[in-house]
Amino acid sequence: MALIDVIQVTKVFSSRQRVHALDSVSFSVDSDEFVVILGPSGCGKTTLLRVLAGLEFPTSGTCRFHGQAITRPSRRRAYVFQEPRLFPWLSVGTNIRLGGQRDGLTELVKKMGLAEFSSVYPHQLSGGMAKRAALARALASEPELILLDEPLANLDVPTRETLYPLLTEIWQNGPACLSVTHDVDEALMLATRILLLSPRPGRLVHELHVDLDFPRDTRCSAYQQWRKTVLELSMEVAKH
């Protein structure tokens, strides 16, 4: 049994204007995978993640976690939002502890490079540090799955470069990861499998098993070859 099963999920938003966000999307995620859903902006990627988190419900179809229908949020499925969403009135340390009181939280904070920021308030953090704090909070609940909404968006290049190995390490040490992005490099740096989503309404159009070794290097020729393939495919998808 897969960790996550998405079965024929369709989502239509019908307030004011009818928006067809997702159209019969089906796929599974195993507990050792890092799956990246790649698609253009506004194709329903975030909606899909929100449904999996239990924040929203599909119009039709079901999402299963360990074979059970997802009806509400669970600490076993952590969610990292695009923006850090830390509580501004709590110190960074307290924000992280809200995720969970697991053993070795201090080590986790240290590993995330946040040791000296524990007592400061979130607004004093840089974008990269705030992202790390949000990741630490997600990891504090020892989830089996981390849902990542554009984990590297709005971050500068050096920050992104430090976060790639960190995200890979987090995944290799435990939880399955499901991330969404519109950035081909972000997908190729992280994913063991890429799912290509079409523009709205989002439909799964391609599935790619990425066999590149970790840690990945954008400069190696195998990577460049992959990059070309994925870019061509996404261009083709965008045309339809």
Partner: protein
Amino acid sequence: MRIGIRCARGVVLPAFLLGVWHIMGTTGHMDGSIFPETGQVLQAAIHLWQNGQLASHVYVSMGRVVQGFLWAAIVGVPVGIVLGWSRRVKPWLDPTIHFLRQIPPIAWIPVFILWFGIGEASKVVVIFYAALFPILVNTTLGVQQIPRSLWEVAALLRFSLVQHLTRLVIPGSAPTVMTGLRLGMGMSWRVLVAAEMLAASSGLGFLIMSSRSLVRLDDMLVGILTIGFVGVAIDGLFTLMQRLLLPWSGEVYGAYRRDPSN
């Protein structure tokens, strides 16, 4: 240094008016029977201070304000939190609250005197009434203004009811609640004088009214200016408390407004 300059700027206009008043008085351009000279008012103030009357009137008035205000806070903050939090409760209470808050508290004074007597109770009730609505309305607003994105985080982290209150609702609404308390305190102070003018034997309102019947304009002005000074002092105290207790004020919604996805 900057704050010093700003304060200095604020003092210019009062100093100018005071100067005009003083010169007009001393050069005999003012009718002393309806507008006393500055020296007279100062003397009256010193006199009222030395015989302890001013302090005792301030003390009595403060006591009433504090009582009425505290009751308003005890009722207003929790009810406001419930109203801001629950969409189900709001439609039941909103029209009533909206109706009652349109009525000036002073209009109730004769009725309250009839109901609660001319003693302390009627004054405390008027102050309670006046302070309640700013506190209630701002608390409701404060809870409603907590970004939906943070409610989602609370849901994902499976917050308990207590965690919702202590980690999200109370700190998230605190800056706005504080504003409500400040406004409520201001309202209390304003209606107090009206209440004391109608039926009281002590307090700053009484000082003004009794001086009126004795045609002591200087004492009246001392009473009026004291109300202003005490009001400003209380307001400053609230601002200071907000800065000390809620260091994240201003950062909270600043940070979230900048974020278009919220």
